[in-house]
């Protein structure tokens, strides 16, 4: 018994001294990635572990959401917007020693667009007509048509560079060009990585990083409070924040994401095919009250675009909270008081708790909302795949995903020729000023038609050790870029 006690004390003491000269970091994440190849699955967790740490692309997205250089040090675009010439970084090697050159670029992009590709963003690569290599450090990419978002898309986690000799094992043993080398993955618990001694860029300041997967909000709170974690960038327990804020060991940092929380509407179903009904729903919801009921840190939105993005316009005034007006619009559209509508609610709190708040608000305008909780797999099957729903609450988290309103078949069934025409023009325009104007037109058009009720942007609550620096405040894309992280003191 004494031995056990002694060991107990020794381990606790040892843990205490180890903290003084720290060059490692342990991060908490809500979900475990199913695999570690960001080009083979859509799960955000894959990118949250590997993006910018293990894998890198030609371009990258920085913490402001802008396109920056990475494996391509510079590029030129031809006048017709069809030819992109990338000058590649020299001396870059994959973790297994494979040199990075234009052949890798060609391999990566051709693999992504191949018939058997399972890249979840295959559409990003579809405009590419050819990749040519005039010399090993120059990649010339020719597009089928001008594509304004091309550089942004090539900076996403879906477009990172992979070598032919390691690609088959990247799901379990990722080999990239990044500042950290994959060490091991204890499935169900953590992924470990170490500083890449042969990194081509400035060496990262921390020597090793561990990502731990803790989904349960109370377990996450306990792990942070106990000091088991140094940071939890997407902290899942808003109800514990007050307690953590009073503790000087931690910083609580509020930021933004690209998540657009919306109440999606099945635009094909009566009575929702009547724009007056959709507008009535928009007037019936008090977004500020909803946000505060959810302890939400986001901001109300008026279209499918979040504040902070280039070209964002504030349309939150289009449908102010006005139950009387909602009642009037519903009456005009012939929707009788007591009409029943179902809202399918996937598991996240914004949907489950938000659904209850919204149901109460809809009751004020005579709508009986029936809440149907569904698990994520069911949501994807019934709502997303089969469009079998009236209303649902969901956050669309991909950046710049205005294309979903222009698709032939997408679950909320919005079909509008004039929207598609503006969208097409936006896609094909590369001039930044013209793009800003067009993206404004797209937002206005969506606000006018209100295919979905736009609720609020999804905030990001980061909790980390007060001595830790360099973690991103906002999350313009899924990532936990550790290349700039360091401990102060």
């Amino acid at each position: 018994m004494n031995r056990i006690l002694a060991t107990l004390i020794a381990t606790t003491l040892f843990a205490g001294t180890a903290q003084a000269a720290k060059d490692s970091i342990i991060l908490g994440m809500p979900l475990e990635p199913p695999m570690l190849d960001p080009t083979a699955g859509a799960a955000a967790a894959i990118k949250e572990v590997t993006y910018a740490n293990i894998f890198q692309g030609l371009t990258r997205i920085n913490d402001k959401g802008e396109v920056a250089s990475q494996l391509a040090k510079s590029w030129t675009i031809s006048g017709d917007g069809l030819t992109y010439t990338f000058a590649l970084q020299s001396g870059v090697k994959f973790h297994d020693g494979t040199p990075f050159d234009c052949a890798i670029v060609k391999f990566t992009y051709e693999r992504a667009v191949a018939a058997d590709s399972t890249n979840s963003q295959k559409g990003f690569f579809e405009p590419i007509s050819s990749t040519a290599c005039p010399d090993p450090l120059t990649a010339v990419i020719t597009l089928k048509r001008p594509t304004g978002g091309f550089l942004f898309n090539m900076g996403s986690g879906d477009a990172v560079m992979m070598a032919p000799n390691s690609v088959a094992n990247n799901k379990t043993n990722p080999v990239g060009t990044g500042p950290f080398v994959f060490k091991r993955w204890v499935k169900g618990d953590r992924v470990e990585m170490e500083r890449n001694p042969a990194y081509w860029g400035p060496a990262p300041k921390i020597a090793s990083a561990t990502f731990r997967f803790i989904a349960d909000p109370s377990a996450a709170t306990a792990a942070v409070m106990a000091g088991d974690l140094d940071a939890y960038p997407l902290f899942p327990a808003p109800e514990s924040l007050d307690r953590i804020r009073t503790d000087k060991r931690f910083s609580v940092v509020l930021g933004s994401t690209q998540g657009k929380t919306i109440m999606s509407i099945n635009n094909e179903r009566a009575p929702f095919n009547d724009v007056r009904v959709r507008r009535a729903l928009a007037h019936a919801i008090d977004r500020d009250a909803l946000l505060s009921a959810l302890n939400g840190t986001g901001k109300p939105i008026g279209s499918h675009f979040v504040p902070g993005n280039p070209g964002y316009i504030d349309l939150t005034g289009a449908y102010p909270y006005d139950p009387a007006k909602a009642l009037k619009l519903l009456a005009e559209a012939g929707v009788k008081p007591g009409t029943e509508m179902t809202i399918k609610l996937p598991p996240p709190a914004y949907a489950r708790r938000g659904g209850e708040v919204i149901a109460a608000m809809l009751e004020q305008v005579g709508i009986k909302a029936k809440l149907v909780p569904v698990e994520w797999a069911q949501w994807l099957d019934q709502v997303f795949k089969q469009s079998d729903f009236d209303l649902t609450i969901i956050a669309h988290v991909e950046p710049n995903d205005l294309d979903i309103y222009a698709r032939d078949k997408y679950y909320f069934n919005y079909k509008d020729a004039s929207y598609r025409a503006i969208y097409q023009k936006w896609v094909e325009t590369s001039d930044p000023a013209a793009r800003i104007d067009l993206v404004g037109q797209l937002q206005r058009k969506l606000s006018e038609d209100e295919p979905n009720v736009f609720l609020f942007s999804l905030g990001k609550t980061g909790v980390w050790n007060a001595k830790l620096n360099g973690l991103w405040v906002n999350q313009p894309i899924f990532n936990n870029d550790l290349s700039g992280v360091f401990w102060s003191e």
């Binding site: 989904a215 349960d216 306990a222 792990a223 099957d381 669309h396």
Partner: protein, 317 residues
């Protein structure tokens, strides 16, 4: 005796086959498709079709069942959809957490419950009995996840002597791994110990009233000797039955406790696999868990033979 064992083994195999059919059928009906989940909301029809083909989901259900069962018979558990590694590898990693945890909790609950139950029976009606049974009543009502959170708050947050969750791994040495299992084992064991001590108490009380115990007293054995030599051994059959039953509750409990303590064990794996629609992992695990429950019941039956010679004599007749 031999016939008994063979009959039970055949029954075991048939039960497993039935379990495999049921779980496969249920997973077919369950809405949700693994490929859709992996590609999420950005999936396009052609990518989805390519992935379904890669996973073998384009084959008819009966064919997939046969492939799966055929593989199981050869000892091949298949490849996880989400993790893309052999399921046997996943299970081998997870067993290192769940089996020690289950063994620790069973040992802990029995070593608490049996002495406590016997003590309560021996001191029937006295303050010690009332105190112990009052505590047990409280313990029965405790949900294990709540107890788990409470233990974390006390021993990891307020007095940080043990980790709040996670698992260091046995390769880091015995103690670093073992200390991760202490709180979860207590969270699992205490509610079970409460039930078991009540069962022990009433079983011992019953045997204490039997003629042979009175005879033991009459031939001059002390109260304690009569209790431990005659009353307790004869009370063990119901106790062992309950321990066997508790084993299946323990497996269910690990699903919850492993989530509370974020332990990478079998329970958490099955939970994640269901949410991810990693069908092949769910199928394998359900068959494996069903198999271990059946096996434990079988061991309990064998234990009866040892505990009560009358059973094997009747079986042989």
């Amino acid at each position: 005796m031999k016939g008994f064992v063979i009959r039970r083994l055949v029954g075991l195999l048939l039960t497993l086959l039935a379990a495999s059919l049921v779980v496969f059928a249920v997973l077919q009906i369950l809405p949700g498709d693994p490929a859709t989940l992996m590609l999420d909301t950005s999936a396009r029809p052609d990518t989805l079709a390519a992935l379904r083909k890669q996973l073998g989901l384009d084959q008819p259900a009966w064919w997939r069942y046969l492939i799966w069962i055929g593989g199981l018979l050869r000892g091949d558990f298949g490849v996880s959809y989400t993790y893309s590694v052999p399921v046997s590898e996943l299970i081998a990693q997870r067993v290192q957490v769940t089996v020690p945890l289950a063994v620790m909790s069973i040992c802990l609950s029995t070593s608490i419950a049996i002495p406590v139950g016997v003590l309560a029976a021996a001191r029937r009606g006295r303050p010690a009995d009332a105190a112990v049974m009052g505590l047990a009543q409280f313990g029965v009502a405790l949900p294990n996840f709540w107890l788990g959170i409470l233990l974390i708050l006390v021993f990891a947050v307020a007095y940080p002597v043990l980790p709040a969750g996670g698992f260091a791994g046995w390769e880091k040495g015995f103690w670093p791994a073992f200390r991760c299992l202490i709180l979860p084992a207590f969270a699992l064991a205490l509610p079970q110990a409460a039930i078991l001590s009540r069962v022990t108490r009433s079983a011992v009380l019953e045997t204490l009233g039997q003629d042979y115990v009175r005879t033991a007293h009459a031939k001059g054995l002390s109260g304690i000797a009569a209790l431990w030599r005659h009353a307790v051994p004869n009370a063990l059959i119901p106790v062992v039955t309950i321990i066997g039953l508790q084993f299946s509750f323990l497996l269910a409990g690990t699903v919850i406790i492993e989530n509370v303590f974020t332990l990478p064990g079998l329970g958490r794996l099955v939970f994640q696999a269901i949410a991810q629609r990693d069908l092949i992992v769910v199928q394998d695990l359900v068959v494996l868990l069903a198999g271990s429950v059946i096996l434990v019941n079988f061991l309990v039956d064998l234990a009866y033979l040892g505990l009560d010679p009358r059973i094997s004599r009747e079986g042989a007749r």
